[in-house]
Assembly symmetry: C2
DNA sequence: ACCTTTTAGACCAAAGTGGTCAATAATTTT
DNA sequence: AAAATTATTGACCACTTTGGTCTAAAAGGT
């Protein structure tokens, strides 16, 4: 990406980045249309290729942009010292919602990136993806205090069930977000509602 | 659709139907390519428009084909007399996997159909979709015996958590199916594994 | 031999693709 | 104020893909 782009007023940069993120998320790399991106971003066709030289460089720029944001804003919040699985979910989930509220397009783009087949991804990017997957794994399986689980159930199965329940809750909340304006999202209220579900889980699965 | 198509040998019909279902599922209506369909089905381009007159009629034929199959092979299995939520999930989930094993493309097509925005759907089709949604709702919320739940948790919240866990389990199993040949899927083994999870749920959430 | 039905794929206009470029507008430098 | 540099636009390009047509041949029936 050219330095011209970085020197643009922030608002214009964001318009372009968000238009591109949305297009790539919805359509995938191949089907994403640079025409739709420039229209959505309200810039002339030529500019996109003046800032970034071609579609692929634009894509790589976005990938790095998103990973940087993730590494700065979300990953630091994850604390593996917490040995209580459900408390870990509490913090991670709230952080996730908070990240989504601030950067919904980045969130969605990363989501599709994790699923996409990595044919056109550099090894460097593939490593970042693998690392992220690893973080997700640690979050759910590493350094946990199993003694908290009641003893009449298989704790591994309980953990899976809890994981699925948490993913389902997240999916439902995110699906509800889609219709709303980001501004209207009340993280505190959401956090309380979530807390109730976590209490039920603790009652059900812990000693 | 012309009668010519119905008089085709079954194997050829299936090749065409499956090629089209897969294309529409993966690409959505607009982006689905009739060229890819005929190549995948190994028929000449002209034939698709000889059997069905155009893309839209082909699509409607598939919609009806899938709903017919669903109404004949899956929905009859659902029994709302069972008042035990978890037992209901047992039967419904096993039936679902069984349906997927027999008709994976139909399953996926219906899945995307339920999500798609119904701009190009006739009212008749929209009604079928709504009806199916209603069945899903009844399955999870109607005619259930709440007294089975332990009394120190909010049974509504417990039901949501169980629903999410079940959906997560299904998603995981279906994701594993994607790589495999349908033939290799062992429903009995799967059913046993599933049973273990249901037992854990009962221990955790029931009296 | 003749007629009908089925088949394949070359072909069509239209639309869309990523990318270029010359003409201008805006800004900076002199 | 003039000149030089940078930023911006959109018409334009060659190319691919689109849904759909049509001719010619093959297959099947009588």
């Amino acid at each position: 990406m050219s330095y011209t782009f970085e020197n643009l007023e922030e608002e214009k940069q964001q318009r372009i980045i968000n238009a591109a993120l949305e297009e790539f998320s919805l359509q995938g790399y191949e089907k994403a249309s640079t025409n739709r991106i420039v229209n959505q971003a309200r810039i002339g066709k030529g500019m996109l290729f003046y800032y970034f030289n071609n579609k692929q460089e634009l894509y790589y720029y976005l990938v790095n942009y998103c990973f940087d944001l993730l590494h700065n804003k979300y990953l630091p919040q994850i604390n593996l010292n917490e040995t209580d699985l459900i408390e870990r979910y509490r913090k991670a989930t709230v952080s996730k919602f908070s990240f989504y509220k601030e950067h919904p397009n980045v969130f969605n783009f990363l989501g599709t990136l994790m699923l996409a087949d990595g044919d056109l991804l550099t090894e460097e990017v593939q490593e970042k993806i693998d690392h992220l997957r690893h973080v997700g794994y640690d979050l759910v399986y590493n350094n946990l205090d199993y003694s908290r689980f009641r003893e009449d159930v298989d704790s591994e199965k309980a953990m899976e069930l809890i994981k699925w329940a948490m993913e389902g809750y997240q999916q439902q909340v995110l699906a509800n977000f889609k219709g709303e304006k980001m501004m209207d999202i009340d993280l505190d209220q959401l956090s309380n509602e979530f807390s109730d579900y976590l209490d039920v889980l603790k009652t059900a699965f812990y000693k």
